[in-house]
Symmetry: C2
Subunit: 198 residues, 2 copies
Amino acid sequence: MSRVSLLEVKIPEDRYEIRLSGSGGQGLVLAAMLLAEAIGADASKSVIQTKSYGPEARGGASKSDVVVSTGEIYYPKALHLDLLLAMTQESLNKYYPDLKAGGTLVIDDTLVSKLPTQDYYGLSFTRIAKEQLKNVMVANVISLGAIAAITNVVGLDALLTAVLARAPRGTEEVNRIAVETGYQEGLALKLKKNPPTN
Amino acid sequence: MSRVSLLEVKIPEDRYEIRLSGSGGQGLVLAAMLLAEAIGADASKSVIQTKSYGPEARGGASKSDVVVSTGEIYYPKALHLDLLLAMTQESLNKYYPDLKAGGTLVIDDTLVSKLPTQDYYGLSFTRIAKEQLKNVMVANVISLGAIAAITNVVGLDALLTAVLARAPRGTEEVNRIAVETGYQEGLALKLKKNPPTN
């Protein structure tokens, strides 16, 4: 490509960039869609979810990005992540460099063992899904519950509403428990890392 | 938002922008995902699919965009559509202004009756799905088949592979027929509009 045109894009400072990453089959694109719907239910927020295919997407690690702003989103591509969820070692290795300084790292410590920093939230999403909920497919939903507790990007009620609206018939209860379990685990971990002072 | 930073973005000239639009429930986000996967199977192409939530997405019309390029996609938001699929009157009214001059307009003439131009491809995706395939849910997949025939953005084989990889168990056959029927209808219409000269 030799000829290009240039476009000036405004990047609002209240922008919040999220990447959910792992391997294909962990349901992270669906999770990103649910998260985007839950955040977008707040009428003051614009949300764009992106998924890449082709060369950008190859290499074993799967990702979907969600960009949030209170203004119009002129540039929907995630540049400097505020929040990275890594459900596998490979996705952590690949996307950790995109996490900005002070950004929030959440990992599945069932599947990730080598951490490039001490500053992270590690929860056993996959183990909890398998052992407590008897359904490994809801590890992604548990991780959304934890994200709601750890960050302020989405509220528990909005997340529950979005997840239950998309849950296949007959899976509403396991999905509800998955969100709530993730939220409880996330909150416990947050309080442990940042004990309230009084 | 008062404070913004500016970013210069290169827009390659081989960029191809697609918007699939209609009402919620017509499966257009899934269709965009299938189309993006099919196009992305070509290793020379980068593809990004976006979906908006919140204020940008409200108002009854549902859409998902797919941007294709042979280079890296710096700016994944659709600006000037090369191809617009409108499955409802409302989505046509809302998104037709985003179609660039000379762009391709494909509509479901079961559901769209007022056209802003004479230059369009009209096919009865919803009627074909209901009457021929006895399954209204595959109207979106029929439209993908038609898009493959009308444009050069994706090949029939790549599209079939992507659709069948995602088809729920037991629906492979109806999805295969949906792609092929859409392709045949689209090809017939294209030949009618542009008769071969010899």
